[in-house]
Each structure stands twice: as structure tokens, then as C-alpha cells.
């Protein structure tokens, strides 16, 4: 479409403002990380990002984010199924509270989960005699990341399940499929792209999450330190180069995950039959 036959005004103004504001607030500041990291000599850079303590944080952040996202896919799917398919008392409240992890400040979530899962907490004191220690260790990280990830899975799968045509299930049933076969072979494949997208969103959020994790993790070096915390630790030591190096690794990971999520969302859009 050429400029001449545009009917609506304001293209130059709105696009110009958008690009200027985007550059000032997001693009230029983010590029600072790469410019500063590129100015480091490579050996110094590598000694920071591949140091034993930092590598231990990658393992924890990635491992726990993967585990939390997987747990969220399983329980998130069940929760979505319950909300969409069943009626039960308090359903509207459950549905509304699913978004709590989006709305509740992460620091509040952090101290609440810590108090809940500490050895003297409501849940912690049940688990303690069983020898299960959650707070102040790596499983504390897991619990915080599960909390943070719930709405990503539920809110991605929910619209797809709501729009799923029950006629497909009736067709499967009338052709002799058992209920389990229908769910597994007809419903589940339709939900798969959304489930994977929810998984990727929860995972990406988990890798970068800070506020809810640091209270419950205990932050023990080599045991329960997450990668974002290492950036804070370096900053507090006034080691700006070290902080920048770790941040550049995290940014690259974020960009890759963003790309994957975009591809997955494209898949969801293509595989969802459009209502006419």
C-alpha cells in the first residue's frame, strides 16, 4: 500500500513516536548490555560466564524451570479441563484467581510461599516429618516457579478447549471410540500446540524470575542460587563487567526462547480451525 492512497491520517506520527519510544526505553538500553559485554576481552568474559558457580546457577535455573513448566502442563491441563468442562461450586472464583500469579507482586508471592513451605509453615510442617524439605533449598525454587507458571499454561489452553467443537467428540464416540481414546486421540492433539506454547511461556518466565524465588530459595552457592541472583551478587560486589557478562548470556537465551514461542504461537494460530 503506497502512501498516496492511505485514507487514515497519522501514520508518520504514530509510527515515528512508537519507534522513538521503543528505541529509547527498550532497544538502546538492551543494546548497552551487548556493547559492554563486547568490550570485555574474551578470556575475562568466559571466566565469568563459565565459572563453576555460575554454571551451577544455569543448571538450577534451567532444570527447575523445565521441571516446573512440565508440572504446570500436567496440572494446568487438568485445571483447565475442570474449569471448562465441569461445573462445581466456586468455579468462577477459581477461574478468576488463576491469574493471581500475574497480578500478585513477586515479592509478596515470595514471602507467602516461604512462610507456607518453611518447616513451621502450614504445608511445611506436614512435609517435614516425611523428610521433605521445600523452603531454603532447590525445591523452594521449584515451588516458586510452579506458582509463577500456572496462568501461562491455563490461559493458553483455555480458549482452545472452550472453542473445541464437541461434535468431534460425538463423532468419535459414535464411531465406537471409548471416552479415553476420544480424549487421547481427538481432543489432546488439538490442545498440543497450546500446551507446548504454555510450557514455553512458563519456562521462559521461570528462567528470568527473581522476586518470588530469592526468598524461598535460601540462595546457597552451588545448591540453590539462580542465575538472575548471580547478576545481583556481581553488582553488589561492584563487578559491573561480571554482571554484564552474565546478563548478556541471559539475554541471548531470552531471545532464543522468544523466537521459539513466536514459532509455537504461529503453529497454534494455524492449527486452530477458524470459526466462520
Amino acid at each position: 500500500m503506497s502512501g498516496a492512497n492511505r485514507v487514515l491520517p497519522g501514520f508518520g506520527l504514530s509510527l515515528g513516536y512508537t519507534l522513538a519510544y521503543l528505541s529509547l526505553i527498550v532497544l538502546i538500553p538492551l543494546s548497552a548490555v551487548f556493547v559492554k559485554a563486547a568490550a570485555m576481552d574474551f578470556e575475562r568474559f568466559w571466566s565469568v560466564v563459565a565459572s563453576e558457580r555460575v554454571v551451577a546457577t544455569y543448571k538450577l535455573s534451567f532444570g527447575m524451570s523445565l521441571l516446573a513448566a512440565s508440572i504446570n502442563v500436567v496440572f494446568g491441563l487438568l485445571l483447565t479441563w475442570a474449569i471448562v468442562r465441569y461445573s462445581f461450586p466456586g468455579k468462577k472464583i477459581v477461574d478468576a484467581l488463576i491469574d493471581l500469579p500475574f497480578a500478585l507482586p513477586t515479592a509478596v508471592a515470595g514471602i507467602a510461599l516461604t512462610a507456607l513451605y518453611a518447616p513451621n509453615g502450614w504445608i511445611g510442617q506436614i512435609l517435614e516429618p516425611l523428610g521433605i524439605k521445600i523452603a531454603f533449598g532447590p525445591y523452594g525454587v521449584l515451588v516458586a516457579l510452579i506458582f509463577i507458571g500456572v496462568p501461562f499454561v491455563v490461559r493458553t489452553v483455555q480458549p482452545i478447549l472452550e472453542d473445541f467443537d464437541a461434535g468431534f467428540e460425538e463423532a468419535a464416540a459414535s464411531l465406537g471410540a471409548t471416552r479415553w481414546q476420544t480424549v487421547r486421540r481427538v481432543v489432546f492433539p488439538a490442545l498440543l500446540p497450546a500446551l507446548l506454547t504454555g510450557f514455553a511461556l512458563a519456562f521462559a518466565r521461570g528462567v528470568g524470575e527473581y522476586g518470588s524465588v530469592i526468598f524461598i530459595a535460601g540462595n546457597i552457592p552451588f545448591v540453590s542460587e539462580i542465575t538472575p541472583l548471580m547478576i545481583i551478587t556481581r553488582l553488589e560486589e561492584f563487578d559491573y563487567q561480571g554482571a554484564t557478562a552474565i546478563a548478556s548470556v541471559m539475554l541471548v537465551i531470552s531471545f532464543v526462547l522468544l523466537l521459539v514461542i513466536n514459532l509455537l504461537q504461529g503453529w497454534v494460530a494455524r492449527s486452530t480451525p477458524r470459526a466462520i
Binding site: L8, S14, P105, I123, G211
Partner: protein, 299 residues
């Protein structure tokens, strides 16, 4: 009754008639009980109990302690700074969101999809990194560090840094609500207004805005909740100076680390209340938007 209306009516009718009333989509009682038990237990343990606990802990030592914690001068100044940061960040991101949605949803140009991805970028960046970038630019050793020092301007470990970090983390909220909605609405109505002689601003105020008001409100609500609750990014640039650069979430952290649990949960309960109000408003906005759709398809 048009097809759209009947579809919508089917959509709005309870799941009872939609799924449980049809033989093929009805799960056996045992399956239903098991799914409900497992999923609601999961919900209770990970979402509901943490919320209840915030209020239980906040009031454990009674009203007097609760009020005292909130009336503390440091708490009051933290509340004030949180409100200030949101009052600056939300309007700025609102104007940006409208501008971006107008450009992206009303015009065709190369790189449009890429621009949408860039706008979403702050959501995929760790909050800690979001704070760090401003330290690298405005901090003592940053790009403008020595220049700012020469003119005695404080950005990092001061209020401007907190505002900047807040703007960054809440950047996409309004834009990402508006863009898909305005794209799906198409530009015919605005084009008609312009052809009939309305000015650009008249068209925006009288045609565009009424069409997107609920999505706009929704974006602002979410933007505000995140602006008031942001912790990681603000923590990096704040310097944690009591009474000066502490926001409410940072104040919660300080109280908690000093083992003043009742006070920490008292301030936390205010933030939790904000979250609940946010969710209630969100439900209301969704209900209004659904009602409008229903009205439109009837008329």
C-alpha cells in the same frame, strides 16, 4: 436469530448443558471426581493458600500492629513512591500503546510483525537484566555516568531510575491488548469517518476509542498492577535507601529480612489487595466486553 447470536448463546450457556449434558462429552463420575480433586488440590496448594496466608500473617498480631506497620513513616514514603512511579509509567505506556496500535493495526508496512515482537521484548527479559541496563547507562560507571555526575543529576539509586525501570517492565501491557483487537476490528469504520469529513483526532476520539475502551482499560489495569508490584528491576536501580528510594515491594523485603514478619505481611497485604482488586476489575471488564459483543450481534 442470526448464526452469530446462537453461537454466542451456546458459548455463554453453562458448561453443564454444553458438555455434561451431552452423552459423548460427559466424563464418568469417577473421572470427574478425580480430575476435580487433583486439580483443585493443586490450585489450593499453589495459589489459594499463599493468598490466604498473606492476610492471616498480616493480622496475626492484631489490628494495632497492622495499622502501626502501615503508618510507619518509611512505609508511607514507600507507598507514596510506588504511587508516583505508577502515575508516571502507566500514562506514558498508555500513550505509547495507543500510538503503536494505531501504526500497526491501521497501516501496512514492512516489518510490522517484527515490530510487534520487539514491543513484547520486555516480557521475555529477566527483571534483573531490565534493571541492570539502566545501571549500565546512567550508573556511576555507565555511558552517561560522568556527565550526570558533573551536573549532579542522580538517576540510579534515585527516583528517576525507579521510574525508568518501572516503565521498562510495564512497556508492552497496553499495546499488546490493543493491537490484536484493533487488527481484528479492521479500519473500515475509521475510513468512513474520514471520508465523511471528520478530522483525524475526531475519528480517534469518536470512533476508535469507543470501540477499544474495554481492552484499553484492561491493559491499563494490568499495567498498573505490574507497575506497583515490580520488584526485581526496581531492586537493582533503587539502592534501597529507606524513606527515599524504597517502593512497597522493596519495603516488604527489608521488613522481612529484619524478621519483622507481621509488618512485612501487613504491607504485603496491601499489595495483595491491589492484586485482588485488579482481578475483580479484570473480571468486570471481561463481562462488559462480552455483553457488548452480545449486544452488537443482536443489533
Amino acid at each position: 436469530m442470526s448464526g452469530a447470536t446462537s453461537q454466542l448463546a451456546a458459548h455463554l450457556s453453562s458448561s453443564l448443558t454444553r458438555f455434561e449434558g451431552r452423552l459423548a462429552t460427559r466424563d464418568s463420575g469417577l473421572v470427574k471426581t478425580a480430575v476435580l480433586a487433583v486439580s483443585l488440590a493443586f490450585f489450593a496448594v499453589f495459589i489459594f493458600l499463599p493468598l490466604v496466608l498473606v492476610f492471616a500473617e498480616a493480622f496475626r498480631k492484631g489490628w494495632d500492629t497492622y495499622i502501626a506497620a502501615l503508618a510507619d513513616p518509611d512505609a508511607v514514603s514507600a507507598i507514596r513512591l510506588t504511587l508516583l512511579a505508577a502515575a508516571i509509567a502507566v500514562p506514558l505506556n498508555l500513550v505509547f500503546g495507543i500510538s503503536a496500535a494505531w501504526a500497526i493495526a491501521r497501516f501496512e508496512f514492512r516489518g510490522r510483525q517484527f515490530l510487534i515482537t520487539l514491543i513484547d521484548l520486555p516480557f521475555s527479559v529477566s527483571p534483573v537484566v531490565a534493571g541492570l541496563v539502566y545501571v549500565l547507562i546512567f550508573g556511576a560507571h555507565g555511558w552517561f555516568g560522568s556527565w550526570l555526575q558533573a551536573y549532579d543529576i542522580d538517576i540510579i539509586f534515585a527516583v528517576p531510575g525507579i521510574v525508568l525501570a518501572t516503565i521498562f517492565v510495564t512497556f508492552p501491557f497496553v499495546a499488546r491488548e490493543l493491537i490484536p483487537l484493533m487488527q481484528s476490528q479492521g479500519r473500515e469504520e475509521e475510513e468512513a469517518a474520514i471520508i465523511l469529513g471528520a478530522s483525524g483526532w475526531q475519528t480517534f476520539w469518536r470512533v476508535t476509542l469507543p470501540n477499544v475502551k474495554w481492552a484499553l482499560l484492561y491493559g491499563v489495569i494490568l499495567c498498573n498492577a505490574r507497575a506497583m508490584g515490580e520488584f526485581g528491576a526496581v531492586s537493582v536501580v533503587s539502592g534501597h535507601i529507606r524513606g527515599e528510594t524504597n517502593t512497597m515491594p522493596l519495603h516488604v523485603e527489608i521488613l522481612y529480612n529484619e524478621y519483622q514478619f507481621a509488618a512485612a505481611f501487613a504491607v504485603a497485604s496491601l499489595l495483595a489487595l491491589l492484586a485482588l482488586v485488579t482481578l475483580a476489575l479484570k473480571a468486570y471488564v471481561e463481562w462488559q466486553a462480552a455483553r457488548n459483543v452480545a449486544k452488537d450481534s443482536e443489533g
